[in-house]
């Protein structure tokens, strides 16, 4: 009876290990155990920019000038140009001063709809301006200029 129960546990541990990628099983001091790898990495917020970036729906762009720095003035012009000339789900003009030397940096986040094999899509045309991650304006592109 004891042997049967012991055998049953081994089968269960083996089945569980087999059912999970990278799983293993063995007989430890407390009996049979299944070792299952548990994903402990980052899980992007569903619908967030990082989640959309996983499938290429969102991409972050920077406009670099001749000195190799982002140019907030021209980035604003580009955001205005894209607002009128391309199709998108959401266009975010994102300013920040996270650079250690305090410079104003600017990037444009373009979010697109998921494209089916038929290439039939619809666009939401949302616009946002953010500064250091804080929303500054919705449905509007604001120009934030560096201190000269």
């Amino acid at each position: 009876m004891r042997h049967k129960k012991f055998h049953g546990s081994e089968i269960a541990a083996r089945a569980l290990a087999k059912a999970n990628s990278g799983g293993s099983y063995g007989n430890g001091p407390d009996g049979w155990v299944a070792k299952i790898p548990l994903y402990a990495g980052e899980r992007p917020t569903p619908g967030g920019v990082n989640d959309l970036r996983r499938t290429g729906r969102a991409i972050v762009y920077q406009l670099i000038n001749k000195d190799g720095n982002t140019d907030p003035r021209t980035s604003f012009d580009l955001a205005l140009f894209w607002k009128d000339y391309i199709d998108y789900d959401k266009l975010t003009l994102d300013y920040d001063t996270f650079d250690p030397n305090g410079d104003l940096t600017c990037q444009i986040v373009l979010e697109m709809p998921e494209v089916p094999p038929s290439f039939e899509v619809s666009f939401a045309y949302n616009i946002e301006t953010t500064y250091n991650g804080e929303l500054q304006a919705k449905n509007e592109i604001l120009e934030i200029l560096p201190d000269d």
């Binding site: 546990s9 081994e10 269960a12 541990a13 569980l16 999970n20 990628s21 990278g22 430890g28 407390d30 009996g31 049979w32 155990v33 299944a34 070792k35 299952i36 790898p37 548990l38 994903y39 402990a40 990495g41 980052e42 899980r43 992007p44 990082n50 970036r53 996983r54 499938t55 290429g56 729906r57 991409i59 972050v60 762009y61 920077q62 406009l63 670099i64 000038n65 140019d71 021209t74 012009d77 580009l78 140009f81 894209w82 000339y85 391309i86 199709d87 998108y88 990037q107 373009l110 697109m112 709809p113 998921e114 494209v115 094999p117 038929s118 290439f119 039939e120 899509v121 619809s122 666009f123």
Partner: protein, 104 residues
Amino acid sequence: MKILVDPQYNPELQPQITSATKLGPGITCAKFLGARGSRTQFEKLYAPGFFGAADRKQIARNLVLHANAMQTIIGNPSFYQHRLVVSEGIYEPNPSFETQEIPW
């Protein structure tokens, strides 16, 4: 709205999607995979068995719209003194695993 895609840049017509797959004139998938802030490869995308393999055709189809957006800047006289770069492209969550022991 139906997006019109040049057949030579249509991912649906490509036998396989690699980083060299063209999405527009002078724009390949590598442009979005090799961004400064998020360098990755198709082969590395997603932890196998947990997120499932990357759907390369879906990714490439989505990127076609971005390639079209980039096309509007290339050769545009308003931005001829500037360079448009992808600062954060395709995102690969940092996979990390802990082992969980289940006793029987």
